[in-house]
Symmetry: C2
Subunit: 231 residues, 2 copies
DNA sequence: AAGCTAACTAACAAGTTAGTCAGTAAAAGA
DNA sequence: TCTTTTACTGACTAACTTGTTAGTTAGCTT
């Protein structure tokens, strides 16, 4: 396993959504009676879940507060407004990802291995931040991506484009459109998680979150993308 | 062009979003002073746009009414409730698609050609119903897909699975997991449209909706999926 | 132990939103 | 032409939502 995947070490064990909801990324120190940082983290967690479901407009501050155990006034005390809370929510996991991604030495890897690694990290991030992908989709659909640009996602995506361009120049990849290839790859990596509730109606028996299922999904995603790229 | 694509005849000309918003599928007869069917259609159009942006919970009936030129009370007169309106919105383009898909003779086509056709029809549907895909995503994210099962999408998806299974048995396709392959394909076909507002921040110059861009996207999607499937 | 301040609550004000209803006017029918 | 039905409006209510504020308490400092 590449070192940067260490951030998500044990992610396969987190696949069960109930476990996921309980564990999350371990940001919260042991709870004391009055702990501003812990309270802020709890609000962010609850807000991430609420925004993932309803987006910025649809989310209710009251519902967020209800999940945390503190009152709604705390949102305004700690974050100032619903909008500032939203900005904080959309930026927090992005920082995790951008940092982990910054550690990847994609530029020195063989293109095939680089693409493989990117897909693994992307899926690991979906698993360890099970609500975040949906927050970003709502962002695109209802805020025209105006807050997306604050997150720092642009740089990692451009690095993946560069990897594909390098692969094409080396004759390892076919002369595909790198931009479209990146879009396809992101589509593959995210649809499984975002559209799941609909797709469950088609295959009610399918297990989505067992470690084996995630493993199969990841391998299958890598296989399709690499087949599509390789010369 | 396959006959079932006739439903979307001229779709390449509709790619510009402004043209799209103006044309839509031509359901509305020439407007009279009082025309219940025309009013219902206008409400459905406006609601589709609003639900695409905010989902069921986030959408405001007042905003829907404002787009139509009739009062909010008309929504309740013609549809009874916000929920019934939503059901109507989610079912209308599904009927178009399921009908068009029903006309496809996938079972008698060579598997490769069948997959190619499915992708073309799916993308054509996104183009001719530019808001609908996002309505379905909101449905998954905030309603757990409870209304999705009313739409009849399940059957077309199962037919695509069958096509892939047939291709595998014929030795034309690799022994992939057909279910995951369908998920990947849907991811590729939908991400380009649903996440666009975010992706515009990465490539601000990219043209998404020119006929040429849609053509390139379609070819690129077909190439990746077929490369991923072919033995 | 007394005093201070950061963290927190309960209750409320101001503005929104789903849904209703009494009434009006355009058509269609007699 | 008069009546009935259908499409539609404006004004309303009850419930909900964001954000505020006055006051309370935990825990730290001295």
């Amino acid at each position: 396993m590449h070192p940067s995947l260490a951030l998500y070490a044990g992610w396969v064990d987190w696949c069960n959504p109930w476990i996921l909801l309980a564990t999350k990324v371990n940001r919260t120190p042991p709870r004391q009676t009055r702990d501003a940082e812990a309270t802020k983290a709890k609000i962010l967690d609850a807000a991430e879940e609420e925004f993932a479901k309803f987006g910025f407009n649809g989310a209710k501050t009251e519902a967020i507060a209800a999940k945390t155990g503190v009152t709604k006034a705390m949102i305004y005390y700690h974050f100032g407004s619903k909008e500032e809370l939203y900005k904080a929510v959309i930026q927090r996991p992005a920082e995790d990802f951008v940092n982990a991604f910054g550690d990847l030495e994609l530029e020195t890897m063989p293109p095939e291995e680089a693409v493989k690694t990117v897909i693994k990290v992307a899926i690991a991030h979906e698993i360890s931040h099970p609500h975040y992908g949906r927050v970003l989709l709502h962002e695109a659909m209802q805020n025209q991506g105006q807050y997306f640009k604050l997150t720092g996602w642009v740089n990692p995506i451009n690095r993946v484009i560069a990897v594909i361009e390098r692969g094409i120049q080396a004759g390892i990849f076919r002369p595909v459109d790198p931009w479209l290839a990146v879009n396809h790859t992101m589509g593959i990596c995210t649809f499984y998680f975002n559209a799941q509730a609909n797709m469950r109606n088609v295959q009610p028996e399918f297990e989505w979150f067992t470690p084996e299922a995630i493993e199969r999904f990841t391998e299958s995603a890598i296989a399709m993308v690499l087949a599509g790229l390789k010369a």
